[in-house]
């Protein structure tokens, strides 16, 4: 019983199908399953949203179109029109994270984005894209990204050093922000939900009714966590488009 109430237990990874390549373990786990479920949900959502192709959209088509326009507008406003080349990548990131976050809020569902390796890998894919695109498009001039214009020569080395450090720390902050938000939210939810059972079990008589307090807290936390789930997907996507903007237009 105590294990079931452990707020950390929800992050445990269980192997569903044991697989490996050489000495590397590539087992299909509950995490992998939730990735597949999330991606299938996205595909199903987009498939059902685009089957009718009507001029006047229905509800599902409206939602699909809103998600499309939302991400497209975000890219246009941060990275400009040429940023739209990366639209599928940013849209996939946004939807993947959004669905992982939201599906993870359903009780007994694993949250793939609560593992740092996943969020960090997504952040690194962004970093890699930025570096490859930046160097491929601008070559050596891409390094201008680290040299802001209009800075006095005297403090330029310091500024360049700071810019390089901030650039290199991007994938960490990018990945850890999402991970920490998901982790903290889920721990809090599980903690308060666990309190309901613990208080109900531990207390006697009328005092049992005080278990309603953590219940109220859980109910109050839930919409907040749904907001955070959406917000973090949005933040991840908008930062991605900001970074891609740096790759496309390195001069500040």
């Amino acid at each position: 019983m105590a294990d079931g109430l452990d707020p950390i237990a929800q992050f445990e990874i269980h192997k569903l199908v044991d697989l490996s390549i050489g000495k590397y373990d590539i087992s299909f786990t509950n995490s992998s399953l939730m990735m597949v479920v999330g991606s299938l949900c996205i595909c199903l959502f987009l498939f059902l949203g685009t089957t009718k192709r009507s001029i006047i959209p229905g509800r599902l088509q409206s939602m699909a179109e809103i998600s499309y326009e939302f991400v497209a507008d975000m890219i246009r406003s941060t990275a400009g029109r040429d940023g739209l080349k990366f639209f599928p990548f940013i849209y996939a990131l946004f939807m993947f994270i959004l669905f992982a976050n939201v599906l993870g809020l359903i009780p007994f569902f694993f949250t793939t984005t609560s593992h740092i390796i996943v969020t960090f890998a997504l952040a690194m894919s962004v970093m890699t894209t930025v570096l490859v695109v930046g160097i491929w498009k601008h070559g050596f001039k891409f390094l201008k990204l680290f040299v802001p214009s209009g800075v006095p020569i005297a403090i330029l080395p310091l500024v360049v050093l700071l810019e390089v450090i901030s650039f290199l720390s991007r994938p960490f902050s990018h990945g850890i922000r999402l991970w920490a938000n998901m982790l903290a939210g889920h721990i809090m939810l599980k903690l308060f939900a666990g309190f309901i059972i613990m208080m109900f079990a531990a207390l006697a008589g009328a005092a049992k009714m005080t278990a309603i307090l953590p219940f109220i807290m859980t109910v109050a936390l839930m919409p907040l966590e749904i907001l955070v789930a959406f917000l973090q997907a949005y933040v991840f996507a908008i930062l991605t488009s900001v970074y891609i903007n740096d790759a496309l237009h390195p001069g500040h």
């Binding site: 237990a9 990874i13 569903l16 786990t29 990735m35 597949v36 987009l46 599928p88 939807m95 390796i117």
Partner: protein, 187 residues
């Protein structure tokens, strides 16, 4: 694929796994458990890669196509509306033009009709005036002739009268020639 050693794990109930993990994993915080990284990375790569491919090649073009169709349709409809507006305006202009033309034509017709009627009236008036003048002339000529004839008769009548007067008054006989001579002398 041969190198892959793939085998199915006995999918034991989750509670057993949980207890198992709790026994060994208390020391390791699951998100920082390095032993799970390779499988997570592998499946993230596969699943996210497939998702990206599907979105980029199938779903997003479809969705984009729908949105483009709509904006094209709206643009087309607006174009059509503008064209119809222009057509309506030109039709109105043409209508006004033809109305003006018709009015001018009607005016012309009235004018020419009036003119031709006037000309006809004038011509007829002139003709009838000429006619009247001719008749009057003829009548005058006739009167003149009658008068001369009458005047000529007056002499004869006077001669006859003079002759019969002489014969009555004087019981004498005179010849007409004498009487005529006398009448002429009287004139």
């Amino acid at each position: 694929m041969n190198a892959y050693t793939i085998f199915m794990a006995a999918s034991a109930p989750a509670t057993e796994h949980g207890e198992h993990a709790a026994e060994h994993g208390k020391a390791v915080f699951p998100p920082l458990d390095v032993s799970t990284f390779s499988s997570q990375l592998f499946w993230l790569f596969i699943v996210f890669g497939l998702l990206l491919l599907l979105l980029a090649k199938v779903f997003l073009p479809r969705l984009g196509g729908i949105l483009e169709d709509r904006s094209n349709r709206i643009a087309d409809d607006l174009d059509g509306a503008a064209r119809m507006q222009r057509e309506a305006e030109s039709a109105e202009l043409a209508y006004e033009q033809s109305l003006k033309d018709a009015r001018a034509k009607a005016h012309n017709v009235a004018e020419t009709t009036r003119a031709s009627i006037n000309a006809e009236i004038d011509a007829e008036m002139e003709a009838s005036e000429r006619d009247v003048a001719k008749q009057m002339e003829a009548a005058e000529a006739k009167i003149r002739k009658l008068r001369t004839a009458a005047l000529a008769n007056v002499d004869d009548i006077a001669t006859d009268t003079a002759k019969s007067l002489v014969e009555k008054l004087f019981a004498g006989k005179i010849t007409l020639a004498v009487a005529a001579k006398a009448v002429k002398a009287q004139n």
